[in-house]
Symmetry: C2
Subunit: 194 residues, 2 copies
């Protein structure tokens, strides 16, 4: 099994008009996505933000649950938050993974739209590639209205938007991370009647 | 396609010691799950709580986004929150669905554990049953540490817990709803290379 990593990018992302912004870290995205990352066996979860004060905030939240009163109160939360790391840029996250794994990760971006210029990869093909081993994979998610072009341009491949039966696709990023990890790393369906 | 509905039960559920409790509604579970329900084409999303003040709170949140300033600011949020309804009990939600659909729904419960006494159904089999049409299905999720035995006892079938490759399975209920709806109602994978 290839090592999978998750990055949630707070900057550079775009706002609803496509202009570059930096979003605020929300505590909920720290907790929910850490629990999802732990459930699906991804190795680390990077909160990427250029703002140093925001990185300190994340470190304070995780310290409470990793070492403080929270660790004794809720051990499953502690285990999930142990996977949380901060990074100033996507490049810093990539460098951290390369140092741990001995090779740089393949960057796979996600988008609720279908931006041009990045090679598409299907969920099934990436699932099979992960199962077959090989280089680590960094799954990159954007906050706000999605990754800025410069972040998308760094990606080696792009997963298709998540759709149900209709045109509405406005999942919370927390929900999108869960669906993507389930599609890529969830256990195989045991089959009818199981 | 059979009509799918979602219920998030705040009481009766159990706490970490298995004792019956009623949990508080959190605004985030209103928003996130409404967006997931809209994305996957489920018909209605019931917040089930025996507390009248909590039901009024939900109605106030949804009114802001359905009619107030929020509706103009964020139309996709409005469309999602239009699917939100409150119910005092699971039976009230069942009665509402029966009145809309002309027949009562099949109740399918979810659990992070594997409680005894409810017939199991696999994701694949339920996905096929939904696709084949037939009676409506109400997917029932619990808050806290899960549905109380009396709520589980009402269910016609039980979906297996969501697992990744390891033993950790402590998804936020918001994430679990997204994964379950994707497994049951997500578009078919277009296949490798798509």
């Amino acid at each position: 099994m290839a090592a999978a990593y998750v990055a949630l990018v707070h900057g550079p992302v775009v706002n609803k008009h496509g202009a570059p912004i930096t979003t605020a870290v929300t505590g909920l995205n720290v907790h929910d996505i850490a629990r999802t990352v732990a459930t699906y066996g991804a190795r680390r979860y990077y909160l990427v933000t250029p703002l140093e004060a925001q990185r300190r905030l994340v470190t304070r939240i995780t310290a409470h649950w990793r070492e403080g009163h929270g660790a004794a109160y809720n051990t499953t939360r502690r285990d999930a938050l142990a996977l949380v790391h901060v990074a100033a840029t996507l490049d810093d996250a990539v460098a951290d993974i390369a140092a741990r794994e001995g090779q740089p990760p393949r960057l796979v971006a996600t988008s609720a739209r279908r931006p041009d210029g990045v090679a598409p990869v299907s969920y099934l093909r990436l699932r099979e590639a992960l199962k077959a081993g090989g280089p680590p994979v960094l799954l990159v998610f954007g906050t706000g209205w999605g990754l800025a072009p410069e972040a998308l341009g760094r990606a080696d491949a792009l997963l298709p938007p998540i759709h149900g039966p209709g045109p509405y696709n406005h999942l919370a990023v927390r929900a999108a991370v869960a669906v993507v990890l389930d599609r890529l790393l969830g256990e195989d369906d045991p089959g009818p009647g199981a």
